[in-house]
């Protein structure tokens, strides 16, 4: 009696096919969404890496420089203070002119000097100060090429006939080509990029200063927001009497987590700079402001992971005679710690990427010296990205992307640490 069975009827089969189609469609929507997100991510990361990769390399040129004692040390005193003041730029220019004697007019000589970095004379100075014994010798020194010459070798800048439409004249390009033909030009990994502070010359600029600034600022943030946040969470979860007041505080903490970060910057300006008179652009103030911003995140994460510790553990500890304080310190906190740390790391990585609140407290600034302490002026990684993105020099485009790569590496490392912590230590009940 199969024709009588409702489930095997033609209508039921049609309905089933329809439902299966709907199911497949639904899954396809989800897969498209995931694919779209992945493609966007890959495009974003790809374009940053593609543009940033050349920023990690810099072309150098090997120059023969005669360390003329008449120029460096006419008195023969070998006094380092006097040596440091010598005209090293003059030595550099002489060396370039020996290489290219055909550059005679003032304009040509200026163009010739411009193919090497504005910091090239400092390389000679460093060599002389390190080994004064070599004064009088003819030494080969590898110096950085200027940003435009570097872009020329990277194929991002075309020379022009008259010099009016481009940054590099065909004459300069000719000199560069002949230097390369002599095997004097090298493309090297640019370690200076990781050590130096900011500079207006793209080939001299580095993210070292910004990275140290970020570290100092985050250290302050962590030092303040972690203990305060955890203490607040413990009190609210374990000790606070449930009532209207606790509800009120809870609502406020949740609201605080959603406040736009620029507001914290204004608060920092009004309270820390104007009222307490703390210095502008200092990592202390940056850390204070960012810890205000991360506190709610840490409190919320800590509360939920403390609340996830099963009451049976507390009761067992209380049952064997532990005090409330011992229960929290010996049992609840260690068990909740992986969750608390995860929340903290996520809060910190948010703080690492923040620029808006720092604008108000003067951390968006041009700072050459690598910061040495919590009150010395400094800038941060995302701020450095922001500043370079706005610079007119073409070579900063690659530097900007390279700085983003470094920032992203930090962020990924921090988030990875959070994931690892959770998967290693997390307890399931």
């Amino acid at each position: 009696m199969s024709e009588g069975n409702l489930h095997l009827s033609e209508r039921a089969a049609r309905n089933l096919r329809k439902r299966h189609r709907a199911e497949r469609r639904f899954r396809a929507y989800g897969m498209t969404a995931v694919a779209l997100a992945m493609v966007t991510l890959v495009l974003l990361l790809g374009s940053i890496l593609w543009r940033g990769w050349p920023g990690f390399f810099q072309h150098t040129v090997l120059l023969d420089v005669a360390l003329d004692p008449e120029v460096i040390d006419p008195e023969g005193s070998r006094n380092p203070d006097r040596l440091a003041q010598a005209d090293f730029l003059g030595l550099l220019k002489t060396s370039l002119r020996e290489q290219f004697p055909e550059a005679t007019s003032r304009r040509e000589r200026r163009e010739l000097t411009r193919i090497v970095s504005a910091g090239a004379d400092l390389e000679i100075r460093r060599l002389v100060l390190e080994s004064p014994g070599r004064i009088g010798e003819r030494v080969g020194i590898e110096v950085l090429l200027s940003d435009d010459a570097d872009l020329y070798f990277k194929g991002q800048l075309d020379p022009s006939e008259d010099g009016a439409t481009g940054r590099l004249s065909s004459r300069q390009a000719g000199w560069l080509d002949s230097l390369e033909a002599e095997g004097r030009v090298e493309n090297r990994f640019h370690t200076r990029f990781f050590q130096a502070g900011d500079s207006r010359e793209p080939e001299l600029a580095g993210i070292g200063g910004a990275a140290v600034g970020s570290l100092l600022t985050l250290a302050i943030t962590l030092l303040l927001s972690f203990p305060v946040g955890v203490a607040a969470a413990v009190y609210l979860e374990e000790f606070a009497p449930k009532g209207r007041w606790t509800d009120f505080i809870e609502v406020n903490i949740n609201n605080l987590a959603a406040v736009p970060s620029i507001v914290f910057g204004l608060l920092g300006l009004a309270v820390f700079l104007n009222f307490f008179g703390l210095p502008r652009s200092a990592p202390v103030v940056g850390g204070l402001v960012l810890s205000l911003m991360t506190l709610p995140t840490i409190i919320i994460a800590s509360r939920s992971s403390i609340a996830a510790v099963p009451p049976s553990i507390r009761e067992a500890a209380l049952g064997v005679g532990a005090s409330k304080h011992q229960v929290v310190l010996h049992h609840v906190l260690p068990l909740a710690l992986p969750g608390i740390l995860t929340g903290t790391i996520i809060g910190m990585s948010r703080a690492l990427g923040e620029t808006a609140p720092l604008l108000m407290i003067g951390m968006v600034a041009f700072i050459v010296d690598v910061p040495t302490g919590f009150t010395s002026p400094s800038t941060l990684l995302p701020v450095q990205v922001f500043l370079w993105a706005d610079s007119p020099e073409r070579a900063f485009v690659a530097k900007t992307s390279a700085a983003i790569v470094v920032l992203l590496t930090f962020l990924v490392a921090m988030n990875l640490a959070a994931v690892l912590l959770r998967s290693r230590f997390e307890q399931r009940w």
Binding site: A84, R110, R114, A118, L122, L157, D158, S160, A164, T165, G166, R167, S199, R200, E201, I220, L223, L224, P227, V228, A231, F272, L273, F276, G277, L278, P279, R280, S281, V284, L288, G362, V364, A365, F366, I367, V368, D369, F374, T375, P377, L387, A389, D390, S391, P392, E393, R394, V397
Partner: protein
């Protein structure tokens, strides 16, 4: 017990650390002057006698506000400005005890209307610029909302390209200068508005300073590199930015002629290019001798090797003052002659 004491102690220690004596110059102010001030600061620091000054880009108005907030080490020593200080700002300064300000003019900046090199070069007059961008323009003696959609609508000699101009937002000093120099200059060339200016200055300014909001003028943010990229992608569009960005990207974009003059280094320096402005910085005299190096920094900024014709600032796109004026600025600034408006 220790743990309970430690946290408040840390907090207190941090907050109580005083804003101690400063041994480096602090500079705030205009984003247009920023590239030049930073280049000078770097060179100055490289000499090794003083620490490298810290330069913040706050905009001309914001910089003067910080500068005028008071005398003392928690306030900046120098502010950069892409316009002259206003008398209201001098008053604000004076009311906070900053009564001796030294004005130093460092050079010029041209504002360019640039387009992709792929587009045909154009020659605009200020009147055409005004007609293209004003919110309301006079037609038959009446102000009407701007009817033009292509450049050819304004003048048959111009290309039949859609009017699309990418420029800075109202918060920018470049926008202020563009409105004042180009838009007002163009409005003056129209007889009806010139009459209006004689009768009612305020009404004239309201007309001359309003930029259209129907999509022909696109506020592209403060990032001029972004405008350059967009111009490359869209050859029909024009962009408004400072000369230094044209100089750095001259292989990608070209500046439109204004009144028959190309925005070149020489033309702006000679004063032939009409949309150009002076750049200044202001020094707090009370800080000279208190913060080490202020006077030396002023000397470096005005020196021939920085602000001269072949100076390193010219490489960064600054257009130097004529030689006689440079010498006068150097003398005046060395004597720290205070400003009087």
């Amino acid at each position: 017990m220790l743990r309970q004491l430690l946290i408040p102690a840390c907090l207190f220690g941090l907050l109580a650390s005083p804003a101690s004596a400063r041994d480096q110059i602090r500079i705030v102010g205009s984003s247009t002057v920023f590239p030049f001030a930073t280049a000078t600061a770097e060179q100055f620091g490289r000499l090794g006698t003083f620490k490298t000054p810290v330069v913040e880009s706050t905009g001309s108005g914001g910089g003067l506000k910080l500068f005028c907030a008071g005398v003392g080490l928690s306030h900046p020593d120098i502010t950069n400005s892409s316009r002259r200080i206003k008398s209201s700002e001098v008053d604000l300064c004076a009311s906070n005890g900053v009564d001796e300000i030294v004005e130093v003019k460092i050079g010029f900046d041209g504002i360019v209307l640039a387009s992709s090199r792929k587009a045909a070069p154009v020659d605009l007059t200020l009147e055409q610029v005004f007609r293209a961008l004003a919110k309301e323009i006079p037609v038959d003696g009446k102000l009407v909302p701007n009817p033009y959609t292509t450049w050819a609508d304004i003048d048959a000699s111009l290309p039949a390209r859609k009017i699309e101009v990418l420029g800075p937002p109202p918060t920018s000093g470049t926008r202020d200068a563009f409105v004042e120099l180009a838009m007002e200059g163009g409005a003056k060339a129209i007889p009806m508005l010139a009459d209006l200016r004689k009768q009612d200055k305020k009404a004239f300014k309201a007309v001359a300073h309003s930029i259209r909001e129907d999509g022909a003028y696109v506020e592209a943010g403060e990032n001029d590199n972004l405008i350059v990229q967009k111009l490359e992608a869209n050859p029909d569009a024009f962009g408004i930015f400072g000369f230094s960005f044209l100089d750095q990207n001259a292989d990608k974009v070209q500046g439109a002629k204004v009144g028959g003059v190309s925005p070149t280094f020489e033309a702006i320096a000679a004063g032939d290019y009409s949309v150009s402005r002076s750049l200044y910085f202001y020094v707090k005299k009370a800080h000279v001798g208190v913060v080490p190096g202020v006077q030396e920094f002023v000397a470096e900024f005005t020196s021939e090797k920085a602000a001269g014709d072949d100076g390193y600032l010219a490489d960064k796109g600054l257009i130097p003052l004529p030689e006689a004026q440079r010498e006068k600025v150097r003398e005046d600034s060395a004597g720290l002659a205070p400003l009087s408006l």
